[in-house]
Symmetry: D3
Subunit: 340 residues, 6 copies
């Protein structure tokens, strides 16, 4: 059996009003179970890799439903611990046109946020593992989780596992100062970092001149930031997606990678958004897949960009696409034509 990829973090219940309704209008919620690291695991399983997700879920039907959502799409859930009090929730209003999406977190006191170091046996988890992925959200969940995430990346290195991390700064979860301390330690063990300029500045004080509000892509800004990250933490690669938000309905989207020597950017997609949630995660998954398969840097960028473009045409957090579908788009067929 192929070696596995492990991701670690929180999966939440996402409650979304249907049909672009606002929360005050709706009588039903559509249910999605998702979260950054879980989304990466599902993408990788859909690409045919052995992917395991590590987390803690309450031992009740809601926790079970989250676990089932992962199993349904082929993710290994053997290392998920059961216990704790609740599954984290986020309410998400899908935006449209000039109205932005609106996310309301109700994730405090979740099982994973209150997990203890004893819950995870990293030596067992990293048996037959070749890649470990986590994000800056995971250690932000609680002091315990900061500690556990540091233990996890250390253990990964000990087992010779590649480590990727998506900075993903969440101001609602921790301060810039605390994020800087913890992420600086975690980054000692990271090989591949996903970070946009804003995250890099918030977490590490690394500055560049891009202004993402203006809808212009500052590719040079990213390269500058990536270069500083590589220098500071000895990374192999830094990647980022760049989103140009024309409106909540229409976004430009491309991907940039820098490995300290070569800088590549993917073609740019103009996406008519179905669901933007999980866009960044599907890029991370596309990048991990590309690196595991030994793709060239430019090809990795194109694969990651195409994968994450397709994600945003699909409802929910998960990226339900095959390698073949991604490669077809990466190869240039963006016409959306069907074949019969």
């Amino acid at each position: 059996m192929a070696k596995k990829v492990v991701t670690f973090g929180e999966i939440m219940l996402r409650l979304t009003p249907p049909d672009y309704k606002r929360i005050v209008q709706t009588d039903t919620f559509d249910i999605i179970y998702g979260g950054g690291e879980a989304n990466v695991a599902v993408s990788l399983a859909n690409f045919g890799l052995e992917a395991a997700f590590v987390s803690k879920l309450p031992d009740n039907p809601v926790g079970q439903a989250a676990l089932n959502a992962l199993r349904r799409y082929g993710v290994n859930t053997d290392y998920i611990v059961r216990g704790g009090n609740r599954l984290g929730i986020y309410y998400c209003e899908n935006g449209a046109s000039q109205r932005p999406s609106n996310v309301i977190y109700d994730r405090a006191h979740s099982a994973i946020a209150e997990a203890s170091p004893d819950d995870f046996d990293w030596d067992k988890i990293f048996e037959d593992c070749e890649w470990f992925h986590t994000t800056g959200i995971t250690p932000a969940l609680s002091e315990n989780m900061s500690r556990i995430t540091i233990e996890a990346v250390k253990a990964a290195k000990k087992h010779g596992v590649k480590v990727s991390c998506d900075l993903n700064y969440r101001a609602k979860l921790w301060s810039k100062e605390r994020a800087g301390e913890v992420m600086s330690e975690i980054m000692q063990y990271v090989d591949v970092c996903i970070a946009n300029e804003e995250d890099a500045e918030m977490v590490f004080g690394i500055k560049s001149g891009s202004d993402v509000e203006k809808g212009e892509i500052n590719v040079d800004g990213f390269k500058n930031v990536a270069s500083q990250l590589i220098d500071r933490f000895g990374l192999e690669l830094v990647g980022s997606h760049l989103r140009i938000s024309h409106s909540a309905s229409d976004n430009g989207w491309l991907v940039v990678l820098y490995d300290g020597k070569e800088f590549v950017r993917s073609k740019q997609y103009d996406i008519h958004i179905v669901d933007r949630v999980g866009g960044g995660d599907s890029f991370a998954a596309g990048l991990i897949y590309s690196l595991l398969k030994g793709k060239e840097l430019q090809d990795a960028a194109e694969f990651g960009a195409a994968a994450s473009c397709l994600k945003q045409t699909i409802p929910g957090d998960f990226n339900h696409v095959s390698v073949k579908e991604v490669e077809s788009l990466a190869a240039g067929d963006a016409s959306g034509r069907d074949k019969r």
Copy 2:
């Protein structure tokens, strides 16, 4: 304007899978905002009374939606405080036949559970008020809420407001011992108590011989318990609904009242259940309405029984029936025939 009725407690977001699905099967949740004391307020507003609900709700769209649900049905929300972190949630699988309904609480850390005494100005709340209703759930939410509820009933008495309380013991929220202490203090200020035998035993150690599991009605048991409650706390009236659970789909249902002298029981309804949640609350509302309108004891029992029978034929927590509809059923037309 007529004097108002005030109820005090928690309103939650109820998430229910449609069509008798279990949580692990469902892709959508039906949304209900409800809770024991809020349900009473809505019933009373539907009966044409001025009803106000007092609580604390988070200042976000989810809290707003809960407040809107109350306004929609005519409840005065002027005394609801906004703030805190989250709206309490409960997941509810509707049972069917031999499969019981299944409730999963996710209500810890709600805005109301973390409310402070300063949040409520009882003197203002009880202006122009003639009745105050709360339940044993409200003080069970937190230590603070125990204190606040005691303050509330004291203030009610000070303003010459009648006080009713539904014992409603919740083992998941507090111990029997703590419940006994707090409820004993609250009961000093209560005029009308709603209590079944099980609650009375759990909270006050008052015993009787009924066994509700067996599906038999022990009317004598209730009378004995009610008598002890009246003696101990100087109550005017004790009421209870009695449910005979043939299955999750079919229940027998009747109402008993005892005022220390007269004991009455309503006719019994065999209900094909649409939604049993809120059955007890709609009885409480029917009883309060009856007492405010000066109905005879037997008539109060019939009105309360008919109101709560109808509630269980309606989806959701709220009892969307008029006085006319209740009186029509109470007067004997249980045939479900339509008129054209």
Copy 3:
């Protein structure tokens, strides 16, 4: 081609909240297009007869949708006139258990209610026709419609067409006095009358001792009434369904027929109701079918009873069952067992 059956009356848009909700709770309405005489036509088309429905519908998409609903199930709509201002509407809350169904009519000023005698060419309509069916609702819609209905039954007789009429007294549409006048004239031309005791008393002052509120079947009462109707109007046959409303969810149901000599009653069905609307119409259709096919009186009763029993297990006004399905139930298989 076989000769056709013609029915004449109003088809309305029925708006029903889903899942036993009340109108004040619902965000969507399920759409049904139906009406007594249209329901009969659909039943007969489903039985394989050539059935035409005559009415007037507004020349807009709502009228078209009503017409399409008839075409969909094979009803000939060639004689439907287009014009007028609106399609009649009725809101219908489906009852459950002790809560009755609730119908709110919004049918005034409909195209058919405002139709004029010139709209219908009865000589053309009754070409190749062997049966004409209408109800006491049709002439009640307006003074014009009283006149038109009388013209219709006269024309039917002129063309040698059998005429059936379901008394169906609607107190909201006309007075007992006016109903008596008009229906007495119409009955001169009727061969087969469907009437329960209540209708007979309201319209013609014919009395009997049954009390349908009490849930007891007064078969003798019906026979007495039928006998008086036959005597007064020279009818061939009088039929009635008898409904025993245990609750809105569970009804007893049977059918009685009297031809002046022989009196028959069908077996009784205890129906767990899915949708009671159209029950009487499906009996009328079953009776017409039976008479056209020359069934014996007892067989006609059984066929009519089985057809209308099945209707009430199907959502909507229309009876989507085949002759084979009806005969299977009439022959005694009421177990609801499936066959694979």
Copy 4:
């Protein structure tokens, strides 16, 4: 308590097929209760103002549901009269791309259209009121309503209440001639008028050269028309939204205001439409709010434009947005980016 804003007109039941279906295809209708003046009241309540809606609604569950829709969003319904025969209805197919939206009115004989002058006690209604808003639809409903609306604006003036009116000419409701007579009288009492060129020409014969079919904005045309309106009726301000219909899915949208001296236009929004209904009403509400809050003319235009842009990204007639959300868009963030 702050002084209230009163709006007066008709609220209807809107029946819309889901998912861009046409009426002939659909099995369900989505339910919205809305109408021009009610929509303004809801917007203002969402902006935190005390807003009351005056109308007449039938005393049945459908009328109650319309009233509840207003209460749900905080509108004062104390002055709504109950009675009459029916709630007006409009069917609305949502357009898409080159297919226009299609509205079918079924509003004749509604409770409000058949209201009598005695139904409304304007002296009581205008107590503690600072603004009154109505539209050209309200007096068009019937002769009685023409009279009542004139009484209303007169009473408003008597109580020192500011009056705004949206011309909103509806050719299906009355002739140009009758509209001209009645509106000319009403305009004597109006301070702020909302009118586009087409309305001004239809109602008052005021001409300008704009051709809205061509998709070009004739700002000069509006200014010319506004100037004539101000001259003729002594208005304080004339406002208009300008819609550039590229297709049913994509519209340009901006707002212009003229006070006789200063002319301002808002920035233009290119909106990907979710629901265009209520766009003009949300502009009216934004303008009223701005004027009550003493905003500068340019700021008022920007607030009104942003409010009405956001409305069109939300399903239904009502504008579920807060002042903060409107100001965020007016301040320039139209990227639809979410914040986490």
Copy 5:
């Protein structure tokens, strides 16, 4: 009565996940019954013509539902044969943005694919018929169907019926070689051919230089191909729609016609797609209607283009538009503005 138009082919059950979901995500399927030739028949019936669809459908409720879908929209189903084993199915994921629609056929062994020549009495079918339409899909269903289709076009010619055929090459159903043989024989009897360059090359080896993947319209390429088709088969007219797939959500669309002398192209529409399925069929219907009504070539192109543009703004296979709506768009109003 007007002479009828007959179309011949397969109608299938289309199963589509709602809301742009993929098949692996969905819990429900939206149901459409459709197919190229049936879609043409429905369009023509909606245009007010007498249209009959000829096929074979299984004698079960699923076959009945397909037949009912045709009747519902006014198609004559008298010539549909009942029998065989199953209704063909196709699963269709609606694409969005860069994600193409995905069609999975499950149509083998359908009743029509296994039909025998005896099933159809073409002499009877072509009585009072003025036009016959079929496509290259119909003979591709089976060897028998190749034979039957040839019989059908021969019989049509014998009865003096005009014949149109949409080449519609389906590589999944037959080889280029077999298609070439059969279609060459069929084309002997065809008057009007609908064909794009790709089909012409696949089936007849006729080549031109257009590259439809690139999103550019090669109008000259079509003219060249059409000219060759006319020369080879003696056709009266060749038509084609041209689709420029910017993405699955946005397409350019126009129509070209060539009659050997005159070449016309319609205006081009930029369509925001609701449902692209049936676009070509609605063009065919628009063309047939235009030719039957004697429209000029340019007008025919505009009518066909407008009809098929509108189709793609409507969910499902069928084109629910009237002649008036098509002509309004063809006359230039593409703004999607509603009229009230």
Copy 6:
């Protein structure tokens, strides 16, 4: 890791109209993936056992969705072969009251029906396996499948695996004669047989006097048949569920077991049916679980009866219940009371 249980057969796409609609009425289908042997596997996985399902599924999204449905609920899908042309389908109308459920199979030519012996490596499948379960449907799918099933049971015996088989005669799939031949061979390797009297008579000509149409339970009949089966095939145990179909909505249900010495019957449940499909399969799963856990015969009957009772209160084919829930019901709590 515990040894696994393997089941073998077909999983199909079940298409069901919602809300008791008939196929001719519905616009959507609810999707269930299920089949006798798959249902058993899901039940066992829900009971905490390692359960694997063996089958062949098409390599397309529909096949993938079926596979995902199994993974979602914890079934091992490692031995499922991908290939073939289609997933079998069955349409299922849920019955109600006197209207039976109606199943329409469209399962011919499915991937599993056209599987070849090479597709399955039974030696690998039966590694670490302790129980093999199949049914009489599996060999009935095709000649190949008859052969493969015989190979499977032989291989199971070779690996010392217990074998259970549910006779489940399907007259639509094969003749009594062919069933008798094949099943007689399979039974040589079976230890535990599930069979009702009807199946035993159809397949093996074993007769008894029960008449299941009459709604009476012939327990003696079963014992007689079971005895003959044990004698003929050397079985360890024969079990059967007995269904008393009062109507499609209400069934009596109990379970009987006979091991050649002891005969036991479970308590009888009167079930208000939510979904009867999968009732027998959930009994089989309950029995297998009981035998693997070494339960006494009476306890096994009670567990099997309670499990299958609960299944019929849950929508879909799968039994989403835990061991704890089954044991709670088996222990006597059938009141459907919830606990809070």
